[in-house]
């Protein structure tokens, strides 16, 4: 048994992990009709370069009078100085945020969460599958790998959206398609414009165009709406990727980000400190993890 | 023919309006209608246990919430043959004093006074009468505090129950009331002086009859088992039907009352007329100073009566608190029978309120509630008609007539007397 007692006298950590620092929104523009892109920098510019994080981590963002909410970092630590977010307008805090202008300030604390296990991923092939807003944390990983391209193996990026107009960072990803060192495949469920030059169909359709995959040497990474996990994971398993190398980032309600408030608990794990990145293996023995429906039956 | 209508006479236990129909200079009719939707509360409590009835009926009116509660408790306790302890009785007295201070200060200073001084609201008076508005808010807040301490919260407190109280006020809270009530006496006196110095237009003057409870022990008070009529008669509260004779009129969801086929007045001035001589303390001095025959005719004096009554309520609190504090807490008394009838009569700030219950096998069989405003409605109509006629005869402008009518209606403090806003004139 581990020692239970915390010795008070030992600890000299006096910082308040709940205190937000003030950041200024320096850019803000719409990505789709309900998702905005934000760039933010500490009001105290000196601090800007000190904010270090890992892809897959998130921050708690405060708006005065609206409270706090967790948001993934969409930028990469390999390009320091500016934090980037893409945020969907779904409720109280996010709608006020959507109404804010450049130069206004928000509170930010973090980074929190485990982030992607970059150390373990070094030298491996990477297969990223993004759906909808899942692109937010995955863009961070993608840009990070592109900035450190020589340290990773083959890189594949699959991205699905409902409609062309709903694809986050559409122009950015379309440009990436030209890169030699990246296989970037894009799909939309439906093409209402009639001008979509790429795949029309659900994101799993893109697996047909993948080509050979060296499963044992690959990390599969998924992020998207809960239903997507159910459809995509079997494909990754079929490709021979070991379950502990299939990563997914999860969302839960959060009120603290630091493992105290309890809201993000999944059995004994906290999404905020033990996650938000979990492996499929974790998910398999924690049944509640992506909601009802992922029972032993559907996973087996 | 033209119609002078005073729309949205809000708070006559809901929403009402006054329509004055004019034919040249003659007033054809005055109708005060209540078009707030019917709630049928008396029917809904049928079949309920007495304790459940007590949760529902205070919701008839927020501003007389404790009066409703107390009237119901008195009626139910009679029906169930429960005798409350002295401590219970005194704590109920205290809560009524609180409601009286709250309601009277709200009505006199914040709702009626702006009319006399020519402002649309008390808030609009802030620039010129900041001290008086703040004084009124102080008094009102204290009245609320007394209600909170005794009943559990400011509005619709559930603490007073059949047979006693959930919890009695603590010694500390009683002390707070004692200290604060003494502190506020100068404020209450200023209110009397203010209303004592006002001119009360005589347009509405007419003879009337006045009814109130007869508080026990020849003291002034807000509850009693018999009813005094200013013609010298005294009737048991159980015979309330003979006094009030409720009837339905087509232009209103509120029922009406007549006594011996004539309208009558209930409220603070009725209490003063019937029991004013029993006042003591400084309130008695002010009563002697200001009381005159005019009170018997002019409903506007109700405002002054409320001001004097409020002082009396404040003056009485310390003594009541002391007596409550000196008694041991008593448990809630249990019913001694399950079938019976009883009528409770109390003086809500705006007049006598009756709650009659027939209980059968522990369940409510009949509930009959007669509110003070319902009793006053005919009287209000009568005085308004006179006011309109006389003002028109005096060649008053429509604007003035409208205000004059509003003032009369408001003087009755009809439940919440924000009465008679938005007067529009219609000509045919």
């Amino acid at each position: 048994m581990k020692k239970m007692c915390v010795v008070l006298e030992d600890r000299e950590i006096r910082d308040n992990p709940f205190t937000p620092d003030m950041f200024r929104i320096v850019r803000r523009y719409p990505l789709t009709n309900d998702v905005n892109f934000y760039q933010a920098r500490p009001v105290d510019v000196e601090e800007a370069l000190k904010f270090d994080y890992k892809p897959g981590q998130f921050v708690m963002m405060s708006l005065i009078g609206e409270g706090e909410a967790p948001f993934s970092l969409s930028s990469t630590p390999s390009r320091p100085g500016m934090l980037e977010f893409c945020i969907r307008n779904v409720g109280t805090l996010t709608s006020t945020l959507h109404g804010m202008k450049e130069n206004e300030t928000v509170g930010i604390r973090g980074p929190y969460g485990n982030g992607f296990p970059i150390d373990k991923m070094l030298g491996m092939d990477i297969l990223i599958v993004a759906g909808g807003l899942g692109a937010a944390p995955l863009r961070s990983l993608l840009l990070y790998i592109l900035d450190n391209r020589d340290q990773f193996g083959k890189l594949t990026y699959l991205h699905g959206a409902r409609l062309p107009g709903e694809m986050l960072f559409r122009e950015e990803f379309i440009q990436l398609k030209d890169r030699e060192d990246l296989n970037c495949l894009l799909a939309v469920d439906k093409d209402d414009t009639g001008k979509w030059p790429y795949k029309v169909g659900v994101v799993t359709e893109l697996f047909k165009d993948l080509g050979p995959v060296d499963g044992k040497n690959t990390f599969g990474v998924i992020c998207g709406p809960p239903a997507m996990y159910r459809f995509v994971t079997p494909h990754l398993v079929k490709l021979g990727i070991p379950k502990h190398q299939i990563l997914m980032t999860l969302e839960r309600r959060m009120k603290c980000g630091v493992g105290k408030c309890g809201h993000c608990a999944i059995e004994y794990l906290y999404t905020c400190i033990d996650g938000p990145v979990f492996s499929y293996w974790d998910v398999l023995h924690m049944k509640e993890i992506i909601g009802r429906g992922v029972s032993d039956k559907t996973i087996a | 023919m033209r119609e002078l209508s005073v729309e949205n006479l809000a708070r006559v236990e809901g929403h009402g309006g006054i329509t004055v129909t004019l034919d040249g200079k003659k007033v054809k009719s005055v109708t005060l209608d209540v078009h707030e939707g019917p709630r049928l509360i008396e029917q809904l409590v049928k079949g309920m246990r007495p304790e459940d009835d007590l949760n529902v009926i205070p919701r008839i009116c927020a501003i007389c919430t404790l009066s409703h509660r107390y009237a119901a408790i008195r009626g139910l306790e009679k029906a169930l043959a429960i005798k409350p302890s002295e401590k219970t009785q005194l704590t109920r007295d205290l809560m009524m004093l609180g409601e009286n201070v709250e309601s009277n200060s709200l009505h006199t200073m914040l709702l009626a006074l702006p009319d006399f001084l020519g402002y649309p609201s008390a808030i609009a008076m802030l620039n010129d009468y900041a001290d008086d508005v703040k004084r009124a808010l102080r008094l009102k807040k204290f009245g609320n505090r007394v209600m909170e301490i005794t009943s559990g919260r400011i509005v619709h407190g559930e603490n007073p129950v059949v047979g006693g109280f959930g919890k009695y006020p603590s010694k500390k809270a009683l002390e707070e009331i004692k200290v604060k009530s003494r502190e506020l006496i100068p404020d209450a006196i200023r209110v009397i002086e203010l209303f004592g110095s006002l001119e009360y237009p005589a347009y509405s003057e007419a003879e009337s009859l006045f009814m109130s409870v007869n508080a026990p022990k020849k003291e002034y008070g807000f509850a009693g088992d018999t009813i005094l009529v200013s013609n010298g008669k005294e009737t048991s509260a159980e015979d309330y039907k003979k006094l009030t004779n409720e009837r339905v009129v087509t232009h209103s969801f509120a029922k009406r009352s007549l006594y011996q086929d004539k309208p009558f007045t209930v409220g603070a001035n009725a209490r003063m007329i019937n029991m004013g001589k029993r006042l003591d303390g400084q309130a008695a001095d002010f009563f002697k100073e200001h009381y005159s025959d005019k009170w018997l005719k002019n409903p506007l004096y109700n405002d002054l009566a409320q001001a004097i009554e409020e002082l009396w309520s404040l003056e009485h609190m310390p003594e009541v608190c002391d007596r409550i504090g000196s008694l041991e807490d008593t448990p809630i008394e249990k019913p001694t029978r399950t079938t019976g009838s009883g009528t409770g009569a109390v003086e809500a700030p705006r007049g006598t309120l009756y709650h009659h219950y027939d209980i059968k096998d522990g369940l409510i069989d009949v509930a009959d509630i007669i509110t003070p405003t319902a009793q006053n409605l005919d009287d209000i109509e009568k005085h308004m008609k006179l006011t309109a006629e006389r003002m028109l005869a005096d060649d008053k402008k429509d604007e003035e007539v409208r205000l004059g009518l509003e003032m009369v209606a408001r003087a009755y403090d009809p439940c919440i007397s924000c009465a008679t806003h938005m007067v529009t004139l219609k000509r045919i």
Binding site: T96 | H15, D33, S121, G152, V249, T250, H251, I416
Partner: protein, 262 residues
Amino acid sequence: MTRQSPKVGVYGFTGCAGDQLMILNCEDQLVDLFGATEIRSFLMAKSDNHEGELDVAFVEGSISTDHQEKKLKDIRARSKVLIAIGGCACVGGPQAMMVGDGKWEERFKKVYGNAKITVAKPNEAKPIDAIVKVDIYIPGCPIDKSEFLNAVSKLVAGKHPYLYQFPVCNECRWKENPCILYAGKFCGGPLTKAGCGAICPTLGLPCVGCWGPTDDLNVTSEYQLLKEKGYDPDEVMKKLRKFGGAKLAELVKDIEKKGAKA
């Protein structure tokens, strides 16, 4: 950055006026309240009322005549945000406790006899969201000062009011009261929205349910429990319905049907 003070209207329909009165009972904040907002219409507090476009409308009371229905629709049409204040507006109030039992007309006749009332056409009481869309609910009978002021303060600051939903039991526990229901007596706490501060259980009295039903109540379980404790099912139902309005009436329908079979 200064914001324009929002244009506000306060309206009352069928009810006891307690929620409007609670606004007037904010004695310490009343002057600030009238300063921070532009109160365009508030019949209960002032005479110079102007109807027109509003940023926020507070609506009290249930709807029980055709006349009221029309007026409410008008208020909705000219308000950006419409807030239901109090139990009557939110769920219908005590006058809606028997909604749907089919005996309303019978009750009406008992009170008014056969008299024809011409002033308006009466109906069985409805919560306001049965007629118009409601943006925010501030429950309570009457509303709580601080919940109201919190909401107004946020609106004035251009923020969103927020009420986290949990039952009275939570607040009751914070007050460390012995549980009445655990002792086998009726208490409405588990079914009722918190916000009052568990006043009644703190006085040793059962929660009567005046904040209205929570969004997540298990009325069947409480009904069963009380029946097991020896309560008359009829009585339990009456107690449950008191402040539940249309919503509770819907929930207990099943129980009543099953109860009749049992």
